[in-house]
Each structure stands twice: as structure tokens, then as C-alpha cells.
Amino acid sequence: MPRTLNRILIYTALIVWTIIALFPIFWTFSTTFKVAKDVQLGHIIPWVDFKPAWLGLRAIGLSPDTIFTESTPRTEFIKRFWNSIQASIGASFLALILGSAAAYGLSRFQYKWKIWKNRDISFFFLSQLILPPVVLAMPFLVLYKELALLDSMIGLILIYTLSVLPIVIWIMKDQFDTIPQELEQAALVDGCSIWGAFFRIILPIAMPGMVAAFILSVILCWNEYFFAALLTSSYAKTLPVMVASQTGSQGISWWSMAALSSAAILPLIIIGIFLERYIVKGLTTGSVK
């Protein structure tokens, strides 16, 4: 009997937390399809409490009846969405290239430049994690103005790369450390160059780690708001900035806000459901031995 009770308690706790975790997401998706009356009366369950309407999607021009017509909000939304994709994928790729190479070097070779050795170089990279965005924000604003990079995609990609690079190096170094060195030694004996061994032997084995680092970077860049809000205005503005600017204005309809928020979180929910394994791998690297 205590065992059954124990089971019931465990499942109750699990279900309660599932509701806590998922209800806000459900609420946002369902509000997309509510008219003003349903929102104000606090209706929750679709088809029972309220009749779903295409309001939210119509507001951003993506409902079945507006999808083939001209729509200014849709053009704007797609532009921001595309900007977010460019910024997060671009920065993650750049960080993965720079970070994997650096992590491999730090994992395999002993560097020495004046008094700096491997440990110091690793610490230099990881210490960037501590740096809060506010410290860099203002100098970057002034700097980008002088470099004509303000409100440009390249500027945004550069700063996002900088912010995810330490995480990529951390994950990849841990990944390379687990690969035995005998593998490339054999390749070197066969006449392979060190870069040849890196590309042909090591990178294919390190693929799971690279996928994990890449996905984690994409998530962080996709959600980034602080730099995007300060460094972009009309051209390179990303989706989070668009969502944030809409919340401020009064009188914006609930369903269109809900539609925008849903669009901002949907790609990540899909990634979360299908690639959960890699996210967990990325998050737990280096901390659990």
C-alpha cells in the first residue's frame, strides 16, 4: 500500500509540474484563436469554452483567407522572422567554426606565447561568459556607428558569435578530450597533415558534440533581445524586438500579440521536442563526469 501511495504522489507531482510548464504555452497558442469576448471572460478550452476563430493569424496575414492576398503585417513579420533565422544560424555557424578549431587546438597541443599557456587561453575564452551584455552594449553602439555596422546583419552576427563562442569552445573541448589521441596519430603516421586528420578523422567522430553546440547556440541567439534592441532599428530588427515593441503599444489586439509570440516560440518548441537529446547533451557537458 505505501508503494502505491508513493506512485500516486510521484505521478501527481509530475502532472502538476507538466501543467505549470505547458499551460502558458497552451494559453498563448489558444489565445491566437480567441475574439475579445473570449479573452475577457477568461475562456480556456477551445471548442468547449469558445469557438476558435482565425483572428490572430489573420492579423499577421497568415490565416487561410488572407494568405494569398497582399498583407503589410505579414511582409513585416516575415522580414523579422527571416532576420532572426539569419542572425542565429549565421552566428552559430561562425562560432562553431572558430570554436571547434580552437577547442581542438587546446585539447591536443601545448601552446606557449610569452607567459600564456593552454590554461590561460582556455580561461580567457571562458571568462567571456561572465561579461554581462550591458558592459559591451554602449561601446558597441558607438563603435558600430563609426564602423557603419549599426543596424546591419553582419554587426549582429559578429556580436552573437562573440556571446556564444565560449559555450561552443566549452562543449567542443569536452567532446575532443573524450576522443582518444591514437586515432589521429595513426593518420599522421600514414602521412596525413594535422588539419587533414582534424577534418577527416576527428570532426566526423565529434559530430554529436557539434550538433549539440550548434543547437544550443541557435537557441541562445534566437532568443537574444538586449543587443538586438540596442543595435538594430529598421533593417536588421529581429523577431524578439518586434514582439517587444508591440507589447509596449496600447490597444494592440491580444490575438495578434498571441500570434506573434506563438511564432517566436514555435520553432524552438519544435527543436525542443525533436532534438531534446542534443540540448541535454550540450547543457550537461563538462559539468557531469
Binding site: I10, L41, R108, L188, N223, I265, V280, V288
Partner: protein, 370 residues
């Protein structure tokens, strides 16, 4: 930069085979490109200060020159050092990238911090010595924000306790473990800006948000969650917890799964001893993972900004302000660049000291317990 390999000792011989002509060419390449970069920077400085009349309209050529210089440096090192140059090529791009994007802005930031500079005023930048520091010392909003940061950092411990509980639940022998794991992880994936609207603006809406409705149904007559100062602070902390608990939970879960099976069996005894088993076996074994998780989480917490900016903008009356959101308003609403940067630099120094102490304390603690 010189490098020697631990992996392939036989390869060192290759470095010696670099011919003198190649070495000379490599050296020449590095020197010439450094000279070119220096020339472009000097020319640009002279042009922008009005000494010479021809130059580029902005500093972008300097950036391009830096990229070219980096490429020339890498190539030159390969030519000069052979094998060692190829090895240096692994870390050099990342180092040059980080240096260019961090060191220069940080130094430049200190330069801005000691000046009176409002982007909207016509006077432009003026050096004002320690005035910003004095203003900061007397600014109640700064000290208030710093106090709030202490509160937000302390909430990490509560988040840790909840995360530990959830990780234990997921580690128990349950069905549909994968479903629960994904469901619990999802809040962490969401953009803080979207969360601010989803929860802060919509579910906590005073008139008809589902949470306020629920609280009213439970007998709370006036659930003014975001307008009463202490309640607003707690609400922000709860939203932040909702986003970040999954992160800690995943770390702890991985730690629990790494424990050996007989340890888990020993700890998992039914009834009254289950609680003791946890405190005597599981918890001490989990200390290293727990400390790593908490330290990482504290470092992230020191950057807390997005949720505050988008839910309350620091209100009511600065009750929910973090340092980052305070500086964000200083920049965005008042364009007060000089003062905002001074706060940021002071904050940077505070957190460097704090994190260093935290890391030192954890490593001392770990040594004593192992």
C-alpha cells in the same frame, strides 16, 4: 606564437625543414601587413581629427584592414614556423576574433565612462573626471537595483531546491519519462521576451488573466501582482524561475543518472528512511554537480534583464529593477551614454570580484570535502 605537440612528437622534425626563403617571406608578410594596418589606423585618426583632408568617411576600412592583417598573420606564421604555424592556426582565429571584439570595446568603455555624454545633447562628449562616479555613489536607484540583484541571486537557491526535486521525480522509475522530460525542458527554450508577454502581460493581466482569475477564485480579493512592490519582485522571480528551473533540473538529472546503480538502490529505501537516505547518500554525492550548477546559474542570473525590461520596465518605483534593466533605460530612454557606461563598468568590477570569490570558495569547499 609557438606550439609543440603532445600528440605527434615525430612531427617536430618537419618544422626544421622550412626553407630560409619561406621563413624570410613569412616574416616579411607579417611585418608588411602590420605596417599597413598601422598606417591605415594613423591615417584614419589624422583624418577624423581634421589634420589631413583625405580619408574614408567611416572606420570600416580599419575593420577590413584588421581582417586582412589577421589573415596575413596566420599565413605568415605558417610560412615562418611550418608545422607549429599550422598548429597555431587552430586557436589564432578565435583569439583574434575575441580580442578585437572584447578588448577594444572594454577599454573604450572605460574611456566613455569618465565623460559627460548625452547622445541627444548638442555638446557631444566631454571629459568630466570622476563626476559620474560621484553621481553613482549618490544615486538611490543604483543601490536599489544592486539590492534587487542580491535578492534575485538568492532566489537561485530556491530554484535549485525545486530543480532537485523535479530531477528526483524524473529519475524515479516512471513511465513516459521522455514525455515528462521534454515537457519540463520546454520553458527553458522560450524567448524571455515572449515569456514576458505570455505570462507577465497576458496570464497575469489584472482584470481577466487566468492566473489572477484563479487567485480571485481562491479568495484573494485584490491580486495586484505587478503593482505592489514586493509582490512584483516575487512575481518576476517566479517567472525567472519558470524559465531557468529546467536548466538546473537537466544538470542535476544528468548528475543523478551518473551515480552508480547500487548507490541509487542504497538511497532508494521505502518509508521513513527514504528521507535519511537522500540526505546521507544522494545529496553529498551530488555536491560537485550541485555546486557547478549553482555557480553557472548565478553567473547567468547576474545578466538578468529581458524579463524585467519587457514585463515591468523596472517598476513599480524601481522595485523589480536589475542593474542591466536600469542601464538599458538609461541608454534607451535618456540616451545618457556616459553615466550608463560608468554604471556598467562599476557593475563589471563588482561581479568580477564576486564571481572570483564564489569560484575560490567553491574550490576550497570541494577540496575539503574530497
Amino acid at each position: 606564437m609557438s606550439a609543440s605537440s603532445t600528440a605527434a612528437s615525430g612531427q617536430d622534425a618537419v618544422a626544421a625543414t622550412v626553407s630560409p626563403e619561406r621563413q624570410r617571406f613569412g616574416r616579411l608578410l607579417i611585418r608588411a601587413s602590420t605596417l599597413l594596418l598601422g598606417l591605415i589606423i594613423v591615417a584614419e585618426i589624422l583624418y577624423s581629427s581634421g589634420v589631413i583632408s583625405f580619408g574614408f568617411p567611416n572606420w570600416q576600412p580599419v575593420l577590413i584592414a584588421f581582417v586582412l592583417w589577421s589573415a596575413a598573420l596566420c599565413w605568415g606564421l605558417i610560412l615562418r614556423d611550418g608545422e607549429a604555424g599550422w598548429r597555431a592556426l587552430f586557436v589564432l582565429p578565435a583569439i583574434l576574433f575575441t580580442l578585437a571584439l572584447v578588448i577594444f570595446p572594454t577599454l573604450f568603455g572605460f574611456f566613455i565612462a569618465f565623460s559627460d555624454w548625452n547622445l541627444q545633447s548638442a555638446t557631444g562628449r566631454q571629459f568630466n573626471g570622476l563626476d559620474n562616479l560621484r553621481q553613482l555613489w549618490a544615486d538611490p536607484y543604483f543601490w536599489n537595483a544592486l539590492g534587487n540583484m542580491v535578492f534575485y541571486v538568492l532566489t537561485v537557491l530556491v530554484q535549485y531546491a525545486i530543480a532537485f526535486g523535479l530531477a528526483m521525480l524524473l529519475n524515479a522509475d516512471i513511465k513516459a519519462q521522455k514525455f515528462f522530460r521534454v515537457a519540463f525542458l520546454l520553458p527553458f527554450m522560450l524567448s524571455p521576451v515572449a515569456v514576458s508577454w505570455m505570462i507577465g502581460k497576458s496570464m497575469l493581466e489584472y482584470r481577466f488573466g487566468p492566473v489572477t482569475n484563479l487567485l480571485r477564485a481562491l479568495g484573494w480579493e485584490n491580486p495586484s501582482l505587478l503593482t505592489t512592490p514586493w509582490l512584483a519582485k516575487t512575481t518576476i522571480a517566479l517567472m525567472d524561475a519558470w524559465v531557468w528551473i529546467p536548466f538546473m533540473m537537466i544538470m542535476i538529472l544528468a548528475g543523478l543518472q551518473a551515480l552508480s546503480k547500487d548507490v541509487q538502490e542504497a538511497a532508494r529505501v521505502d518509508g521513513a528512511t527514504g528521507w535519511q537516505g537522500f540526505w546521507q547518500i544522494t545529496f553529498p554525492l551530488m555536491l560537485p554537480v550541485s555546486l557547478t550548477t549553482i555557480v553557472l546559474r548565478v553567473i547567468f542570473q547576474l545578466k538578468l534583464a529581458d524579463i524585467v525590461i519587457n514585463t515591468t520596465s523596472g517598476g513599480p518605483g524601481g522595485a523589480t529593477d536589475t542593474i542591466s534593466s536600469f542601464i538599458f533605460r538609461e541608454y534607451k530612454d535618456r540616451s545618457n551614454v556616459g553615466y550608463g557606461t560608468m554604471i556598467a563598468e562599476v557593475y563589471l568590477i563588482i561581479i568580477i570580484i564576486f564571481v572570483a570569490l564564489l569560484l575560490w570558495a567553491t574550490s576550497r569547499f570541494m577540496q575539503r570535502h574530497s
